[in-house]
């Protein structure tokens, strides 16, 4: 890899080239687009969690001046196909996911009608004029209740609320549980979360009748997957579809989907012969953009008295909501795949039941199934250490695979590519001044304070992934071209939306080509320029997209050597290349640069025989394996006895994502990921009441972490390269979220441990902790009557 470092960009904490335009308000988002003759759509949504639509009157709305038309399910569902879901469990029962409700709505926010008008305000006014006669039906919002016999059915024709079952079993689970000295059992709730990207969704569709082609600008993470999937819904061929993703204000998985509004706007642009724009409101975003998490698991860990973990069992219910989005059923299966974590377990049984309820669909949200696995397992490890009277650090060390055991084959069937879990743990302990921290805890406890230390050692699955495990290809594509001027354009099939790959990809390409970053433009998010791509999710973009670009650079260099050789009168083999210059070995003074070679390649008057003009190459990178970044988080937290408020006293995160292309971006991803976890652990939750009404429909009720909630982070790293790609990188987009949940929760639980509190489910709201503390304090008082005096 030494030649890749001629500029030394890789490894440097270079500020993001994207930032100036974003910070100065000069970036272009979907809502900034204004097309001539553009119409505006607004969607009428159900206020009921479950109801039959007895009648739907749109005449008054249609009569409103400025309204182009109003469409109901009866008028549009036939023309737009069903929303696709990529999952394929054998017993999966999938409802027909039409773009608008038919004669029944089954979640609050279910689209019922769409208005198209001359302005957004007229469209919004028209919504109030649509009369819907709903006959409310019993609804179910709790997935455990949904499994009871007398439960209302989300989809009565299924005869059950069970969507699918899935089993991951390996090894002699029963035998190992029989051999165990102890079985640690815990029921754990992974609460539902709302991704709340700062920019809600939105799209603009424009149909070009002459060509029969359609352009869709949409705030998505996956323009390429949309281009693959949308033809099945709107009947425009893939090669007549162009999907453009302008700037995207956050996705976190919530924009890793094809949504009904994208299909409806595309269809209506054709039907009405005018561009159609739809911009989601915050309340719509809260109720009709996918939610995350929402699993309930009964977990059992079989352990020996010496701390050896033998096997794990889990019975998990995943609340899918009322229908399936792109990956809905797949997400909780990732929990199963990662349930063995960093440990040498001998057997696993993970039973998963996907359940329909009258709520918004769940799908990928930062971490997507993996935070649930890490959180459950790391809670169990702490509970086990506590029950066995063992040091939680030693207990983990005892069960790690050794660095020499990689690739490590897990009991869940994965092959972890590389790892040194011991080193990351040690580094985190060093950064946390572990022994001093223990002393601090002792002193605080002596003083009667509730002070705890929490640990999580985690591994995640990233760089998704080899095509054999993906529904629609797990490769990535990249193209590099040296322009006639010698400037460089790199085109990626990934779709950065805040990750900063315009910077990191320029670093990778700049180093390999020996070209200044200023001369490189990275294009992304337009299927007309990025001809192929599998987009951005699962911490895959730098790992796979970066490699595809690197492969293309190497192809260009090989071609340029032939041209340089011809121009310098030597064979390509005799040409040396470094720092953007080509020369005949031993004659560096007579070097040619990219500018000269580009001119020759495109002016094409002095080309060698059979040499194609141009300097451009594209590549598909197909990884052999996923990557498995890992690390350790250590948290110290204090709980205020009288209020239940939690203060994070210390936060240390050591992440190993392999060599870092840009440490600033890595740290940014970790900081953001940990912030997401702080929210989930301490206060974030999506609340539906028992009737399926969404009570957290706005920022006034949905608590997001704010800058003031974020503690000082101490962030460190170790570097264990992945053998899965030439750069050795592993991905970092979700690491913070995957590692942090259990570390924070374990710290809080450790703080409460002296009171005999074993487990409190997330989020650890002050009132919940206060109640737990009050309850235990009252019990202790009863046990010690003398304290009554």
């Amino acid at each position: 890899m030494k030649s890749a470092k001629s500029n030394g960009y890789i490894g440097q904490a270079i500020k993001r080239v994207e930032d100036p335009r974003l910070m100065q308000g000069r970036a272009t988002f979907v809502d900034d687009l204004r097309l001539p003759g553009m119409l505006h759509a607004a969607v009428l949504r159900s206020p009921h969690a479950h109801a039959t639509i007895l009648g739907l009157k749109t005449e008054a709305a249609k009569a409103l001046p400025g309204v182009t038309d109003v469409f109901t399910g009866a008028e549009i569902n036939q023309a737009c196909g069903l929303v696709p879901c990529s999952a394929s469990m054998p017993d999966l029962k999938a409802p027909k996911h039409t773009v608008l409700a038919g004669d029944r709505v089954y979640f609050v926010g279910h689209p019922v009608a769409i208005v198209v008008a001359a302005s957004p305000s007229i469209a919004r006014d028209a919504l109030d004029l649509i009369e819907v006669d709903y006959d409310p039906l019993p609804a179910v919002a709790n997935p455990e209740k949904a499994l009871e016999k007398e439960s209302p059915l989300t989809h009565p024709d299924h005869g059950t609320n069970v969507a699918f079952t899935w089993l991951l079993a390996n090894g002699d689970v029963d035998g190992l549980f029989a051999q165990a000295d102890r079985v640690i059992k815990q029921r754990i709730v992974h609460q539902r979360l709302t991704p709340m990207a700062i920019e809600p969704r939105g799209c603009v569709a424009s149909f070009h009748a002459g060509e029969g082609s359609l352009t869709l600008w949409t705030s998505t993470q996956i323009p390429h997957l949309v281009r693959t999937l949308l033809p099945g819904m709107i009947g425009v061929a893939e090669n007549k579809l162009r999907i453009v993703t302008p700037e995207v204000g956050g996705g976190f998985g919530s924009k890793l989907n094809l949504y009904v509004e994208e299909a409806m706007c595309s269809h209506l642009a054709m039907r009405l012969g005018a561009p159609v724009k739809w911009i989601e409101g915050r309340r719509e975003n809260a109720m009709a953009t996918i939610h995350g998490r929402d699993q309930i698991g009964e977990y059992e860990l079989a352990v020996k008295n010496d701390g050896t973990v033998l096997a794990i069992k889990a019975r998990t219910i995943a609340d899918l909501g009322s229908y399936l989005q792109l990956l809905t059923p797949t997400i909780p299966t990732l929990t199963g795949l990662m349930i063995s974590g960093c440990y040498k377990l001998k057997a696993v049984r993970f039973e998963l039941t996907g359940v329909y309820t009258n709520k918004m669909a769940t799908d990928a949200y930062r971490g997507a199934g993996r935070p649930e696995a890490t959180y459950a397992l790391e809670r169990l490890m702490d509970l086990a250490a506590a029950e066995l009277g063992l040091d939680p650090v030693k207990m983990r060390l005892k069960n790690f695979p050794k660095p020499g055991e990689f690739p490590f084959h897990t009991v869940t069937g994965l092959a972890y590519d590389s790892g040194n879990y011991q080193r990351a743990l040690k580094k985190a302990q060093d950064l946390a001044s572990w022994d001093a921290l223990l002393e601090q805890r002792d002193a605080a406890r002596q003083a009667g304070r509730l002070f705890g230390i929490g640990l999580s050692t985690y591994v995640e699955i990233c760089g998704l992934g080899p095509s054999k495990i993906m529904a629609a290809g797990g490769w990535e594509w990249g193209c590099v071209r040296i322009e006639i001027s010698g400037k460089v354009t790199a085109i990626t099939g990934t779709t950065p939306h805040g990750q900063g790959q315009e910077t990191s990809f320029a670093q990778i390409v700049g180093d390999r080509l020996g070209v200044p970053m200023d001369d490189i433009v990275v294009l992304r998010g337009d299927t007309a320029s990025a001809h192929f791509g599998r987009d951005t999710y699962g911490s895959r973009a730098t790992v796979l997209g970066g490699t595809a670009l690197l492969m293309s650079v190497d192809k260009i260099i090989a071609k340029a050597k032939i041209l340089a050789g011809a121009l310098l009168g030597a064979s390509a083999k005799k040409i040396d290349f470094r720092g953007g210059k080509f020369w005949v070995k031993g004659k560096p003074k007579n070097a040619l640069d990219w500018k000269r070679l580009a001119q020759e390649a495109y002016v094409a008057k002095n080309l060698p025989a059979n040499f194609e003009p141009g300097l451009e190459a594209s590549s598909f990178f197909e990884p052999k394996n996923c990557t498995y970044p890992f690390g350790t988080h250590i948290v110290a937290a204090e709980v205020e006895r009288e209020t239940g408020d939690v203060t994070i006293v210390k936060y240390v995160a050591v992440d190993d994502c392999g060599p870092q292309v840009n440490p600033l971006l890595v740290e940014g991803q970790l900081q953001g990921g940990i912030a997401h976890s702080l929210g989930q652990v301490l206060f974030e939750r999506t609340v539906y009441d028992g009737d399926g009404q969404l009570l957290t429909g706005e920022f006034t009720d949905y608590s997001m972490p704010r800058a003031r909630d974020i503690p000082e982070y101490v962030i460190g790293s170790t570097v264990t390269p992945s053998p899965s790609n030439p750069l050795g990188i592993k991905g970092v987009g979700e690491a913070g979220t995957i590692g942090a949940n259990p570390a924070i929760a374990n710290a809080v639980m450790d703080a409460l441990a002296p009171l005999g509190i074993r487990h409190v489910d997330l989020p650890l709201l002050p009132e919940k902790l206060w109640r737990a503390i009050e309850e235990k304090t009252a019990e202790l008082r009863k046990k010690k009557p003398r304290s009554q005096s």
Binding site: P120, S121, R124, D125, D128, G281, R282, R283, E642, T643, F683, V687, L695, T696, E698, F699, T700, D701, Y702, S703, M704, R706, D709, P766, E767, W770, R771
Partner: protein
């Protein structure tokens, strides 16, 4: 998030504003800082026919000492109160409470008068206004009217302000430094789950306690005040009195805090606020 259409009027004087209010009656809403009204408009929870923007009326934003009291113009922003040296010196409870209102952006736009007339049961200001025994001055077609704080807040979002009146000024007494505001914040909205404002009058051996966020309207914790009247502010006395902070009220419960927890926080924050205020005496 698009409001229904409304007429927008921008009077230049208070008289003009009152006339417009009389003319349009209950179909009109006054726009002050807009931090309650604009969200309600955008959600279409409020759909007034007319919005009367009083933001351009001269001299509704001031903080000055008059006749031994401090007069604060109704359109004075939270931020101006937070930064007022005069208030810091003469009525430090107001700047202390201001620091707890929303966030910097909210404080830069939102106004004291706007917050008071909106009478959100979880807003910070009512606690302070009650504890200070403040007066509000209104102006209507029949001229000005002075209303004592303790009869100003009537119920949820309901005040003694008449539909044709505009809040013009808030008058607070000059106090010692022995005041405090202790708040448990609803972290999503920034409003109070339980906010307790305390004024300790060391010489008179009395305290006054205003509590917001706990019940359907902010209230004076008279049971606490009675218990402490004439008593030294020892930790024991404070604790015994604070235990009465939620007596005879019906605490609200919601997804952010149960009624029981709100009542607990009312008592706890009362104890803490009294302790802090006493320590400043």
């Amino acid at each position: 998030m698009i409001p229904a259409a409304f007429d927008y009027l921008r009077p230049q004087t208070l008289e003009e504003a009152v006339n417009l209010l009389v003319q349009h009656g209950e179909t009109a809403k006054l726009l002050a800082g807009g931090h309650s009204l604009i969200p309600a408009l955008k959600l279409r929870l409020a759909q007034p026919k007319t919005v009367i923007d009083i933001g351009r009326i001269a001299d509704l934003s001031y903080i000055r000492e008059e006749d031994g009291r401090i007069a604060v113009g109704a359109m004075t922003t939270h931020r101006a109160i937070e930064a007022s040296a005069l208030l810091e010196e003469k009525c430090p409870l107001l700047p202390e409470v201001a620091r707890h209102v929303g966030d910097v952006q909210v404080r830069n736009r939102g106004t004291l008068g706007g917050s008071l007339v909106h009478a959100d049961p979880a807003a910070d200001w009512p606690a302070a206004i009650l504890a200070l025994n403040a007066e509000v001055v209104t102006v209507g077609p029949k001229g000005p009217r002075v209303i004592a704080a303790k009869i100003f807040f009537i119920d949820l979002f309901q005040t003694a302000l008449r539909p044709d009146e505009i809040l013009r000024e808030i008058r607070v007494p000059v106090t010692a430094k022995s005041v405090a505001y202790v708040k448990t914040v609803q972290r999503a909205s920034g409003f109070a789950i339980a906010g307790v404002a305390v004024v300790v009058k060391a010489a008179a051996k009395t305290v006054s306690v205003g509590i917001t966020g706990v019940a359907a309207k902010a209230y004076r914790a008279t049971a606490v005040e009675t218990k402490l009247a004439g008593q030294p502010l020892s930790a024991e006395n404070i604790a015994a009195a604070a235990a009465r902070a939620a007596n005879r009220i019906e605490p609200l419960g919601d997804i952010h805090a149960s009624a029981e927890y709100r009542a607990h926080l009312a008592r706890l924050n009362t104890r803490r606020a009294l302790g802090v205020a006493a320590s400043r005496a």
